[in-house]
């Protein structure tokens, strides 16, 4: 997993701003998206969907510039949309149409001739694991299957960029795992850059190569996840998680007396600082407490996210 370079950038935004009525959704957003899977992470209302709408040329920014596949979506909206595969977060599939008919039709609408569209519709439905189900009306399918139909519809015209808006929205954990694995596979096998918006840290962490964290209309973090993990590994910013068999507050008091930053919650204790373990062990022994677990916590993606986008805390 590598951070994108300028040469591979498929989306660049510079000072992008947008307000809806009195609400500022994007406030000078700068970002670059390259190859691989990019997670667009932010709490609900952070501007992810607005940004996607702008990428497709559906909304004009109030100011700033945006280029998608080298084009300005405001000026070349139809051209951009012909080369982008988009799967919206909302249900977008008429229930009574067979999956194959729908995907074929959307291929045609993206400019594929009838025969090519028919062939590719069948191919992509096999690719997303719906080959046997392709003749089923979409309304009879499960949520996970419908999500796969949306992926097939986004892929049918062989896009140069795939944009997935909350692709696991409304899915149960099993279906979610399946869709995320599929997204990863599509990016690896088809080598199509993918932008995947999500408000779930865990799915971005396991699916994406790069993460862009949006907060209050700005990109507050834009980094490769491998790089982020490496930095966390090397970071001095660690804490020690201690679990006792009794209430942890007396131990927290003792540790604070020794100059450590300790916070107790019931039988658990989090101690900040560089290598506090010897002091903690000594204090536990002095107080005669039963130690159940002691674990070093490194800085996680969640910690980074919550520092950068505190409004995402739920």
């Amino acid at each position: 997993m590598t951070a994108p370079t300028l040469a591979t950038q498929v989306v660049t935004a510079d000072g992008l701003a947008k307000t809806w009525g009195a609400r500022t959704v994007l406030a000078g957003l700068d970002l670059q998206v390259g190859a691989g899977v990019t997670g667009l992470l932010g709490p609900n209302g952070s501007g992810k969907t607005t940004l996607i709408g702008m990428m497709l040329g559906l909304h004009a920014p109030d100011r700033g510039s945006l280029r998608v596949l080298g084009l300005d979506p405001r000026e070349a909206g139809p051209l951009v949309r012909a080369r982008v595969g988009y799967a919206p977060q909302h249900d977008a599939l008429p229930p009574e149409i067979e999956a194959l008919d729908l995907v074929r039709h959307l291929g045609e609408v993206h400019g594929l001739p009838v025969r090519a569209s028919r062939q590719r519709a069948s191919d992509v439905l096999w690719l997303v694991g719906l080959g046997e189900e392709r003749r089923r009306p979409v309304g009879t399918m499960s949520g996970g299957q419908r999500q796969r139909v949306k992926l097939a519809a986004a892929l049918v015209h062989d896009p140069s960029l795939l944009v997935l808006d909350e692709p696991t929205n409304g899915l149960d954990p099993g279906q979610r795992d399946g869709v995320l694995a599929l997204v990863r596979r599509l990016a690896d096998e088809l080598a199509v850059p993918v932008i995947m918006s999500s408000h779930l840290l865990e799915e971005v962490g396991r699916t994406c190569d790069q993460v862009i964290v949006l907060s209050e209309g700005r990109a507050v973090l834009q980094q490769g996840l491998a790089e982020l993990a490496h930095e966390a590994e090397e970071s001095e910013d660690r804490s020690l998680l201690v679990e006792l068999d009794v209430d942890a507050e007396p131990l927290a008091v003792r540790l604070r007396e020794r100059g450590l930053d300790a916070t107790a919650t019931a039988r658990r204790l989090v101690v900040e600082g560089a290598d506090p373990a010897p002091v903690v062990l000594e204090a536990v022994e002095q107080l005669g407490l039963g130690l159940r677990r002691m674990q070093v916590r490194t800085r996680s993606l969640e910690d980074v996210f919550l520092e950068l986008a505190p409004e995402g805390r739920t």
């Binding site: 969907t49 988009y86 045609e108 001739p113 096999w126």
Partner: protein, 286 residues
């Protein structure tokens, strides 16, 4: 136990032609037409369009039968004329408009498919163009096909127009009348359908509007209102224009033809303006 796996290799990169927006408009129009008449859908979706078409065609078939079986009736001129035939299709046209327009617009909005269309090379204008392109031939099934069937039937029984010139003029009038009625009813019913996502509500709305329009017209006639007020009724004014296309005096001989044509044009332009206004505001993503 060993397992075997057939790897189909997945889809190849596509490097063929990518046809433009005009092609996308045609594909959406064709897809919409197929859906509206129930093609590739269950039997239930076919019943009402088929029934309506039968209602519109039945008089033409009966009149053709009469012309063949009772040639004396033709000789005495007791059969309804071509312009008279439009009276037979009014109910079918009303029903068909109420069926077609909601299917064309409401389904896309309600299912969310509109979002996928707008994420394709289509935009609002081309999308609405595709829907109009679908509505006009669909309504022509009611406004044109029955009179063409009647012409064919009468011509085959020797009661058709005399000579190629008369036939040509008659065909021009038929196509002109069909264009007027299809455009008017398409514009009005699509505008009403743009007001709601629910097909049933839109269908009832179309029927109620057209019936109310007719009732208003009847009330105005009974109240000896000025003839120009007949322009307020979409059905009356469009059917009056059709009569003028056939060079008939129509129901209101005092109404100048240009006024009837202008009233009809207003019933096309006004609803289309409402339709555009509605779709200019549709939120796709935010």
């Amino acid at each position: 136990m060993t397992t075997a796996r057939i790897d189909a290799g997945g889809p190849q990169r596509y490097d063929g032609p990518r046809l433009g927006q005009a092609y996308a408009v045609r594909r959406v129009a064709l897809h919409s037409i197929a859906r509206a008449v129930g093609l590739r859908r269950g039997f239930g979706a076919k019943v009402l369009p088929l029934f309506t078409l039968v209602v519109a065609l039945l008089p033409a078939v009966v009149l053709t039968g009469l012309a063949i079986l009772l040639p004396d009736v033709i000789a005495t001129g007791d059969l309804p004329s071509y312009p008279d035939y439009y009276g037979f299709i009014l109910t079918a046209l009303l029903l068909f408009s109420a069926l077609v327009a909601p299917e064309l617009l409401c389904t896309d909005r309600r299912s969310g498919l509109l979002g996928l269309y707008f994420a394709a090379p289509l935009d609002r204008r081309s999308y609405l163009g595709a829907k109009l392109l679908a509505a006009l031939p669909l309504l022509s099934l009611i406004t044109l096909v029955p009179v063409l069937v009647l012409l064919l039937g009468l011509a085959s029984s020797g009661a058709g127009p005399a000579g190629l010139g008369d036939t040509g003029v008659l065909l021009l009038r038929m196509f002109g009348a069909a264009a007027v009625l299809s455009a008017t009813f398409a514009a009005v019913s699509l505008a009403i359908a743009s007001l709601t996502d629910r097909r049933a509500v839109a269908a009832v709305g179309v029927v109620l509007f057209l019936l109310a329009s007719g009732a208003l017209s009847a009330a105005l006639v009974q109240a000896d209102a000025p003839v120009s007020l007949q322009l307020l009724d979409v059905t009356t004014v469009s059917f009056e224009t059709v009569q003028r296309i056939y060079a008939q005096p129509g129901q209101f001989p005092g109404l100048p033809t240009w006024q009837a044509a202008l009233g009809t044009a207003a019933w096309v332009v006004g609803p289309l303006a409402l339709l555009w206004n509605r779709y200019a505001r549709v939120e796709v993503t935010r």
